[in-house]
Amino acid sequence: MTEERFDAIVVGAGMSGNAAAYTMASRGLKVLQLERGEYPGSKNVQGAILYANMLETIIPDFRDDAPLERHLVEQRFWVTDDTSHTGMHYRSDDFNEPAPNRYTIIRAQFDKWFSRKVRAAGAIVLCETTVTELALDAAGKVIGVHTDRAGSVIHADVVVLAEGVNGLLGTRARFRKVPKPEAVALAVKEMHFLPEEVINERFGLPGDQGCVIEAAGTISRGMAGLGFLYTNKESISLGIGCLVSHFAATLESPYALLDAFKNHPSIRPLLAGSEIKEYAAHLIPEGGFKAIPQLFGDGWVVVGDAAQLNNAVHREGSNLAMTSGRIAGEAIAAIKSRKHPMTSDNLSLYKAMLDKSFVLKDLRKYKDMPALLHTNSRNFFTTYPQLMSQAAQNFVRVDGTPKIEKERATTAALIKARSRWGLVSDAVRLALAWR
């Protein structure tokens, strides 16, 4: 006899779901959170980088007990061709601050911790419980959920869909469409275990300092994609992701791509002697602003990956997830405190608050970037990286050729590859999309 009702049901216990559940429970709402995994995080395979500010807004003293791997002091951006990388490294002692800005985390552990906070705030968290369908009334208002456990509908005033990128419930209820292949990336990742001291020495990282490498170029074989390497305490997360539409068009296999990335002469020595313990794959929303579905309706809101809130340019996802979850929670708590019903009109407060936050401001800024990278991927991910490598090699190799000839050769190669007009047009389009 499930007769009781909740103020809110949160579907999913990832970053956005936990942020929403925590925010509402700590404001005194009666919250039920449902998670299909054995425990929160058990299904999670994110890299992952944690952005401190966004979590701090929710749990100010998270550094006291959250399972954090390393705080990041160095970021390496690489443009690769098959044998080289041209890099920009940024490392700063400023990041060794009392309250560091970014951390590497392992989500299976982190989400468990976050969930303990959610429970402590007073929410009821049920794991191994899959929401199979949203319950709607005759007017189409969401009134609760059906689960895969024996029992009737669980009722709630509002359902927060934090169900992740696939968004099965929202799709089934026709709140959103299945994301287009060009709006999602498929990322594959391996966890390589290495002793802490080896990682410290290899990357020049004392204590719990960490480093991130992000690489683009021929590693994605002309597809729009990105390779990454994150240092954890005793492991390295290594992966690569490309747009699903490009995988479909090129018939490249993700594992072969990851294999080639692993064996890239610039990456291989960093992994030497490691032991692979995990292999995972996941979809990442990359469609940006234009792919965001309807964010609220009668009795429901959608947050995080399920709302396609991901900044492909800055590779930020979990902070947008956390922030959207928090804002949804705040909006719902505000509506509740005014004793207003959870109608679409009232829940539009969530969208209004999100519009004012960095989440939608950032995504709006880059709204044209996904399309540009999608349609022009070969130039951005193969031609230019190769030219850049060639130019760098011309510059550093000493072989008796007069310097003026070297410079001419570099310029000629650029123009030959893309024509003057092509170069100008790419630069202008990139600048416009970035603006």
Partner: protein, 285 residues
């Protein structure tokens, strides 16, 4: 009727890592599960309850985090969960564990009704001794039915119970009487999926926690390390043998040739064995 099920929280052996440098088991971060054998006991207990009515109380002894396992047992549908937790219990071997558990079961009997059946799993996957169940039976003076594959019938009026017990030679059909202690064999059933109501009730339940005194234990010297005559002298990962196994190709060879090759290969690696065997053969002639 009242049924007590003893469970144990154990490290998930499928996910244990051995430290690459020190070769020791890395317990930290290893997820814990309910000992898989205990789930057969729990499901059997729930089935008996569903059929005959009554209550199922789940009992475990362990650190405070063992609460997770008890909550899970409640999710499956158990009615009550009790965690026996006290620093005095740390380091218990099977003797001390069965002492503490039997005292707690006696206390449970006083508080919630004397148990008709105590269920345990056949053994745990971390200790593998299969001693705690029988130890409890002995201390509580209960009939013990071990390695039970099936509870065939229970007659509450005559207090008779019939079970099937698996043994090396076959299956025993045993008729006995309540109260008794049953250790359940693997594969005898499959744990159910708890209902939504059970899951909600479990999420909200306060797990009852008893320390040694609350469990009615007076003689603390029988608990924990002090009450445990077993001493673990050393834990180590066996080193792999230096010699690799020799493989003999059998494709397109007569059986006789394979056998000859095999014997020749064995003798080549174990000359002493050849000598020994040939001398016994000559004696037997």
């Amino acid at each position: 009727m009242h049924i007590v099920v003893c469970i144990k929280q154990v490290p998930d052996s499928a996910q244990i890592r051995v430290h690459p440098v020190t070769n020791t088991i890395m317990r930290q971060g290893v997820p814990t599960i309910i000992n898989p054998y205990d789930l057969f006991a729990l499901e059997q207990a729930l089935q008996v309850r569903d059929h005959h009515g009554g209550e199922v109380t789940v009992l475990t002894m362990g650190p405070p985090m063992a609460e997770e396992s008890l909550r899970k047992a409640l999710t499956y549908g158990a009615d009550r969960a009790i965690l026996l937790t006290d620093r005095h219990f740390a380091g218990s071997d099977t003797l001390a564990t069965s002492f503490a558990l039997s005292q707690a079961i006696a206390k449970i009997g006083n508080s919630f009704g004397s148990p008709d059946i105590v269920f345990t799993g056949k053994q745990t996957i971390d200790g593998d001794t299969a001693q705690v169940g029988p130890g409890i039976a002995k201390r509580l003076d209960l009939v013990q039915l071990t390695y039970v594959a099936k509870v065939t019938s229970i007659d509450l009026r005559t207090r008779a119970i019939t079970v099937e017990r698996r043994s090396e030679g076959g299956t025993h059909v045993l008729k006995s009487e309540l109260p008794c202690l049953i250790t359940m064999l693997e594969g005898s059933n499959a744990i159910r999926r708890g209902s939504l109501d059970d899951a909600l009730r479990a999420a909200r339940s306060e797990i009852v926690k008893w320390n040694a005194v609350e469990a009615g234990i007076e003689d603390i010297t029988k608990c924990g390390l002090r009450g445990s005559p077993t001493v673990v002298k050393r834990v180590f990962a066996p080193t792999p043998r230096e010699q690799k196994a020799v493989q003999i190709d059998t494709v397109e060879k007569a059986v006789q040739d394979v056998a000859n090759e095999l014997v020749t290969s064995i003798f080549a690696h174990q000359p002493a064995l050849e000598h020994e065997l040939s001398s016994t053969r000559s004696v037997s002639r």
